[in-house]
Amino acid sequence: MSEAVAIPAAEIAAWKLPSRGRVGMFCLIAAESAIFVIFIVAYLFYAGKTLSGPTPSILHVPVFFTVCLLSSSLTIHAAVRSLSRWNRGAFEFWWLVTIVLGASFLVGTALEWRHLILDEGLTIRTNLFGTTYFSLVGLHAFHVTVGLLALAAVAVFGFFGKVERAHTRHLEVLSLYWHFVDVVWVVVLTVVYGIGR
């Protein structure tokens, strides 16, 4: 094209913009929060309206597994920090600890559900409490599972020596998601095992 357009040459050096990974993850967290809000509103709206069958009084606060999940936020932070300092051994150690803690939380949920279904006779179709409880806690457990899959993928890459210092920023973005899953659990815990009881 002969018609030329003159644009001043870029002075890119001083131009700083936020990282797109972080912005994208914060937006995803906003979207996920909105989904959780809908489920929490439904839980609170139906709290105490169950007509028959088991009621929330059968729930026991899962203290140990809550400690597991919340402490995994600290371990993933330690892992990313070790990576940024290029301490590979520490990174892999803390990363695996995070996975173990997250997985044990899921085991805790599984045991609790087993107890509720087999001993208390509460399923998702038993009554309103069952419907709202299993879908809210299940939605959270689903998010933990997705997070664990992502963590496991990183672990596999790490095992083959593919995780490098330059990946710190990507893993920071992933750890944002993991922190979000933990924070949501604090809210779900308060709603389901606190207010809802």
Binding site: A4, I7, A10, L17, R20, I35, V37, I38, A42, R125
Partner: protein, 556 residues
């Protein structure tokens, strides 16, 4: 100061058609994805239009039996769902995809692969919805296409009342396309925040970029609740849950709340980009910079904020508490204020300008008048007492079609003509565009002006047929006549696009003497958009280039 020159991309005539199509399927280029969004939406526009025509033929005279009542229910459900989710949303996202990176001087969206993924989710969601026509029989041999209305109130969607799989197709297609919408919205926000060219501060972004940025934030907060509600509906239908099961203590009302928490912000998701088109086109064809840029941005954010708290004005007739009614009346009336500010700013932009009545400007002018009337009937309906009389009547149908067709669609047509030279490199036919404009505006007013009247006379929406002699007959006849003018207008529009693409004159890079960055590159832009990333110093970078003696940045 360096000078850039662009080469036209090499002609692709020699590559076989299969390879060219394959290149479109695997593309992650924001411009190609934008075009695909738009073409996909246009084909659904024709389908949704045919469904509307079927409804109007059924209602053209009393006690008509053009289609069966069952088919009529499917028509209004599919028309509403198609037009909102598979026409308006993809059109808005298509334009945002194409224009936002170009306008902020970026080479692509922030996440090109997420972009392609989102498009294909939306596209397959639409196909899933229409697959219900053949796949909806399911195991029970009942129902084909969804027939529960576009807002699918409980308990119509329960297994008891909706056998077969028609409702499941509706739910799943909205769930899938909803994930696509959230993905695109995330992408737009990340693009705007992280991909701007040097000098493009937030206060210098074109208003279209600002409006799409706010739209994306609103879409994230609006579409996600719908996704949550659809998951609950699936739990009810497949796992035997009781969220919306009134027999087991569940609530039908909470579905309404969840749906309208999505449904009302959704209107603003669609109208904000339309405001964006008007805010780019009106200044260029008035030969003046936009009036009150910071106020426009502020009004946009205010609209988005207030729009999150007006949803229950769709629900006055279900009998809420008087305090809830009062809150939603006041918040709904309040949203008219920032919207009114925008209208005054567009008028002030035109005031004293040298207005050029080209097709994009004509559509924008019609938009201003029609959107004003739509807003006024909106303020009428926002009064709960008035709404008790007219809720769920044809008055409401006329009101929201005035917003969506008279406001949003007119702006979209303006955008089509304004950016057609950029996207295709060819100039459209002004004569055909004016024929389109006049046919469509006559049809629009015949249909939707007169649709208010049977509503005022008590005609409920979604009614299959009606008795003669209620005073509705003549109005329904006129409304149906208008449809054919609109259809003829659409025909002229499509003919114009096709004919101009094949045989149009070469448009040049900047046919409108415009001021935003997309006009700085070639028409059509190369895959990389800009050979070197531009730098901007004001809101109208091309004005600065063309008028180095009197640049904008001296005044901003």
């Amino acid at each position: 100061m360096t000078t850039l020159s662009f080469e036209l991309p090499k002609t692709q005539a020699s590559t076989p058609i299969v390879e060219r199509l394959h290149a479109w399927v695997i593309t992650v280029d924001h411009k190609r994805l934008g075009i695909m969004y738009i073409l996909y939406a246009l084909s659904f526009l024709v389908i949704g239009g045919i469904e509307a025509t079927v409804m109007r033929l059924q209602l053209v005279r009393p006690q008509n039996h053009f289609v069966s009542p069952q088919a009529f229910n499917q028509m209004f459900t599919m028309h509403g769902t198609t037009m909102i989710f598979f026409v308006a949303m993809p059109l808005v996202f298509g334009f945002a995809n194409y224009l936002v990176p170009l306008m902020i001087g970026a080479r692509d969206m922030a996440f090109p692969r997420l972009n392609a993924f989102s498009f294909w989710l939306t596209a397959l969601g639409g196909l899933l919805l229409y697959f219900s026509f053949i796949g909806g029989y399911g195991l029970y041999g009942a129902g084909t296409a969804p027939d529960v209305g576009w807002f699918a109130y409980a308990p119509l969607t329960s297994r008891t009342f909706s056998l077969g799989h028609s409702t499941d197709f509706w739910t799943l297609s909205l769930l899938v396309s909803g994930f696509g919408s959230i993905g695109t919205a995330i992408n737009i926000i990340a693009t705007v925040l992280s991909m701007r060219c040097p000098g493009m501060t937030l206060g210098r972004m074109p208003l279209l970029v600002w409006l799409n940025f706010v739209m994306a934030g609103l879409a994230i907060l609006a579409v996600s609740p719908l996704t949550g509600a659809q998951i609950m509906l699936l739990v009810d239908r497949y796992l035997g849950g009781h969220f919306f099961d009134t027999q087991a203590g569940g609530s039908a009302t909470i579905w309404m709340h969840f749906f309208w928490v999505f449904g009302h912000p959704e209107v603003y998701v669609l109208v904000l980009p339309a405001f964006g088109f008007a805010s780019e086109i009106i200044p260029v064809f008035s030969r003046k910079a936009i009036f009150g840029y910071p106020v426009m941005v502020g009004a946009t954010v205010a609209i988005a904020f207030v729009s999150m708290s007006v949803w229950a004005h769709h629900m006055f007739t279900i009998g809420m508490s008087s305090s809830a009614n009062t809150f939603f009346v006041l918040s709904t009336m309040a949203i008219a204020v920032p919207t009114g500010i925008k209208i005054f700013n567009w008028l002030a932009t035109m005031w004293g300008g040298k207005i050029q009545f080209r097709a994009p400007m004509l559509f924008c002018l019609a938009f201003l008048f029609q959107f004003l009337i739509a807003g006024l009937t909106g303020v009428m309906l926002s009064s709960a007492a008035f709404d008790w009389q007219l809720g769920n009547s044809y008055f409401v149908v006329a009101h929201f079609h005035y917003v969506i067709v008279g406001g949003i669609l007119f702006c979209l047509f303006a955008a089509f003509y304004y950016w057609f030279p950029k996207v295709s490199g060819k100039m459209y036919s002004e004569t055909l565009a004016k024929i389109h404009f006049w046919l469509f505006i006559i049809g629009f007013h015949l249909t939707f002006d007169f649709m208010h009247l049977p509503g005022l006379l008590g005609m409920p929406r979604r009614i299959y047929t009606y008795e003669p002699g209620r005073g509705w007959d003549i109005w329904n006849f006129i409304v149906t006549v208008g449809v054919f003018f609109q259809a003829a207008g659409i025909l002229a529009f499509v003919a114009n696009l096709v004919r101009s693409y094949v045989r149009g004159k070469t448009a040049g890079n900047d046919p409108w003497d415009a001021w935003t960055l997309e006009w700085a590159t070639t028409s059509p832009p190369p895959e990389y958009n800009f050979e070197s990333i531009p730098t901007v110093k004001s809101r109208r970078p091309l004005w600065d280039l063309k008028h180095p003696e009197d640049p904008d940045w001296k005044y901003e």
